[in-house]
Each structure stands twice: as structure tokens, then as C-alpha cells.
Point group: C2
Chain length 119, copies 2
């Protein structure tokens, strides 16, 4: 039986499934920003934002650079590219332009397990 599990894809989609995290990604699209600045627009506590950032980090969607006590977060595009690729290929298959979606999924899985260092 083919294994479709991909923890990175799970985490990427999971990270996108929250409006605060999507908004944080939009903020970071303008450039690197530190935790306190990122947290400013939100009503929630700094610790809550910190936890969102950890979720984004575990998904590989952002990277952290420590500069003294300040943690600067920046975007990392690769996991998003793979999420997009999943949806793109899925829709092509669905719409009849692809006939071997399962083979594609196998390939994606093999590629992703190489970077799946966590857990």
C-alpha cells in the first residue's frame, strides 16, 4: 500500500489553517520583522503570538535569526511552494489534465522525507 503521509505538508496546511498565522505571513511578506513588532497588531498576548510563530517555524514557513535578544523572523518559501504544487497538481488531475496523480504524490513524498528532519 502506498504511503501518502507527509508531515511537512501536514504542518504547512495546518499552519495556514489559522487567520492570525496567515496574517503574520502577510506581514512578513514586506520583510524581516521581530516578534514584538509582529505581535503589535493583535489583541492577544505576546506569548500567544510566540506560539503561532513556533507553529510556522515547525512548518518551515519562517526562519528565525537571533540578534541579541531580538528574534527576527523571515519567510521561507519552499514549503508553501510544495503546498501550492499539491493543490495545482490535484486540480489538474481533477480537471482531467493529469491521469497519474498518485505517481506524483509518491514523488512528492520521496522528495519531502529528505527534509523532514523533525520528529
Amino acid at each position: 500500500m502506498v504511503e501518502y503521509s507527509s508531515k511537512l505538508l501536514d504542518r504547512t496546511f495546518g499552519a495556514l489553517a489559522d487567520p492570525t498565522r496567515r496574517r503574520i505571513l502577510a506581514q512578513l511578506a514586506k520583510g524581516e520583522e521581530c516578534v514584538t513588532d509582529l505581535a503589535r497588531p493583535y489583541a492577544m498576548s505576546l506569548a500567544a503570538v510566540s506560539k503561532h510563530l513556533i507553529v510556522l517555524e515547525r512548518a518551515g514557513l519562517v526562519k528565525r535569526r537571533r540578534d541579541g535578544r531580538v528574534h527576527s523572523m523571515r519567510l521561507e518559501a519552499k514549503p508553501m511552494r510544495e503546498a501550492q504544487a499539491w493543490i495545482d497538481r490535484y486540480r489538474e488531475f481533477w480537471e482531467g489534465n493529469l491521469d497519474q496523480f498518485e505517481k506524483y504524490l509518491d514523488k512528492l513524498q520521496t522528495k519531502e522525507t529528505k527534509h523532514d528532519d523533525d520528529k
Copy 2:
């Protein structure tokens, strides 16, 4: 900026954040299928697959048609299209010209307002 319906996106991305559900969607891309047939490839119980289908249904990604005791599931395109649109949109910021342009403007503004110290 485009306003994306938050709850629907939450549920759509949330529904995609599980390998079993992604695989179910891939199965359904081949055409309508009933719950028992969908559940056949999985080691888990039928009730577990049933719950996954409810998650997909709540995200609007599949629709259910009852034909006697048999429930046939079929794909629904709209939520997936919106998820794709979200990713497409933000990748334009992350990797495209708009991102570069905004960075350029920010840097230009910094140079114009601060003459003596660059950070």
C-alpha cells in the same frame, strides 16, 4: 488587498492538513464514490473515515448525496479554488515583483529621511 473568507479558509486548509483526507480527495478526483469504498484502502475503522468525511464536508470540499443507505461523496471545487487563490496571491508578495518593489520603496524612504545613520 483581497478579502478572504476567514472561516472557510481555516477549514479548507485544516481539512488539507491530514494525509488521509488528502488521499480521500485524490480518490474522489477519479469520480464519485461511497463511504465504504472510500474507506477500503485504510487500516482505520469506518467510523474514523466517516469523521474525516465530515471534516471535508464542513470545509465544503465534498458534497454528500444519499441514495438509500449509500452515501456518495463528490468533490466541490470552490473552497479549493479559494485556497489556491490565497497561496497564489501571497506567493506574488513573497517571490514576485510586488515584493521587490515594496522593499525598494522602503529602502528609498529610509535613505531620504535619514542621512547620517543606516541600520
